[in-house]
């Protein structure tokens, strides 16, 4: 049975990706900060017949990220797929000329450095997998080619995550780890506030998590199709 760790699996895309991968037979490890939300997600996933465990995980707490990786090893005996999904501060209310730097720093700490730390913590387990995959849930708002200042903290954090995707893909290529960034599109989550149904946005993430061994690495995709960085 393959295992997947999804950060930010308490709601929205993370929870739906857990649902879809669980339905494909994955053992789902749901990284969630709030204990009550974690137990809820676990109950819902198990109620749908999915093997799921809640892993306490606060992406702003480096010690917790390291502990989560060890917990995974104990719970599942390994890890095949890491989905760096947790993100905060889709800051449409901010302007580049007058930002709240506390928001900027928190967005970078969680969306970018948090994903980096999580990957480093998970790496020893991924290296033992036969088909390791890393999916960085990114956004077109982090694309250099269409960059505007409409969500400054979020965009900076996501272009950083896109850069990390390239670095990770390059460094881990020899180890057979496929690393890709996925834009789910504008999706009707609490964060997105509108857009297409959550299951549609989740499908592109599931696609990147289940790529065949000869699949792409170091790419930026939406719905399984390359998009501009």
């Amino acid at each position: 049975m393959k295992t997947v760790l999804i950060t930010g699996a308490n709601r929205g895309l993370g929870l739906e990706v857990a649902h879809q991968l669980g339905a494909k037979g994955f053992h789902v490890l749901a990284g969630i900060r709030n204990a009550e939300a974690g137990r809820r997600a676990e109950a819902l996933l198990r109620g749908a017949g999915i093997r799921a465990d809640y892993v306490p995980l606060d992406m702003a707490a480096p010690d917790m990220i390291a502990a989560a990786a060890d917990m995974i090893a104990g719970m599942a005996g390994g890890l095949d797929v890491l989905i760096n999904n947790a993100a905060v501060h889709y800051d449409t209310h901010q302007r580049v000329g007058a930002p709240d730097f506390a928001i900027v720093e928190e967005a970078l700490a969680i969306n970018t450095v948090g994903a980096w730390r999580m990957t480093v913590a998970a790496l020893p387990h991924l290296l033992r997998s036969e088909a390791p995959r890393i999916v960085n849930v990114s956004s077109e708002s982090g694309a250099w080619s269409s960059m505007t200042g409409t969500t400054p903290a979020y965009s900076l954090s996501k272009i950083g995550l896109n850069a990390l995707t390239r670095m990770m893909a390059s460094e881990f290529r020899g180890d057979g780890i496929l690393v890709n960034a996925v834009c789910p599109g504008w999706t009707a989550t609490d964060m997105g506030g509108g857009g297409r149904p959550v299951p549609e946005g989740a499908r592109g993430i599931v696609w990147a998590a289940t790529l065949p061994d000869d699949g792409p690495t170091g790419g930026f995709f939406r719905d399984g199709k390359p998009i501009d960085w």
Partner: protein
């Protein structure tokens, strides 16, 4: 079978269509009235929806000899 005039939703569909329900007060009913309805209710409350769950679920409803109907008219 279901509680009359209720709408059948897969738990994940209920979460994913939460945005459309914000104007309504909801009662969530699952089979046993344990984890699933409580979990869905907790998620929907987080989304700002006025929501509660049926204690004992559909089993308790039926044991109380309350009326039932086929699921969504099927």
């Amino acid at each position: 079978m279901q509680v009359p005039h209720s709408r059948f939703r897969h738990p994940f569909d209920a979460l994913n269509s939460a945005g459309a329900e914000k104007r309504h007060q909801l009662v969530i009913c699952c089979v046993h009235g344990h984890e699933v309805s409580r979990a869905v209710c907790g998620f929907l409350r987080d989304e700002g929806i006025d929501c509660r769950y049926l204690v004992g679920g559909f089993e308790a409803w039926r044991e109380a000899d309350l009326p039932v109907e086929p699921i969504d008219g099927h």
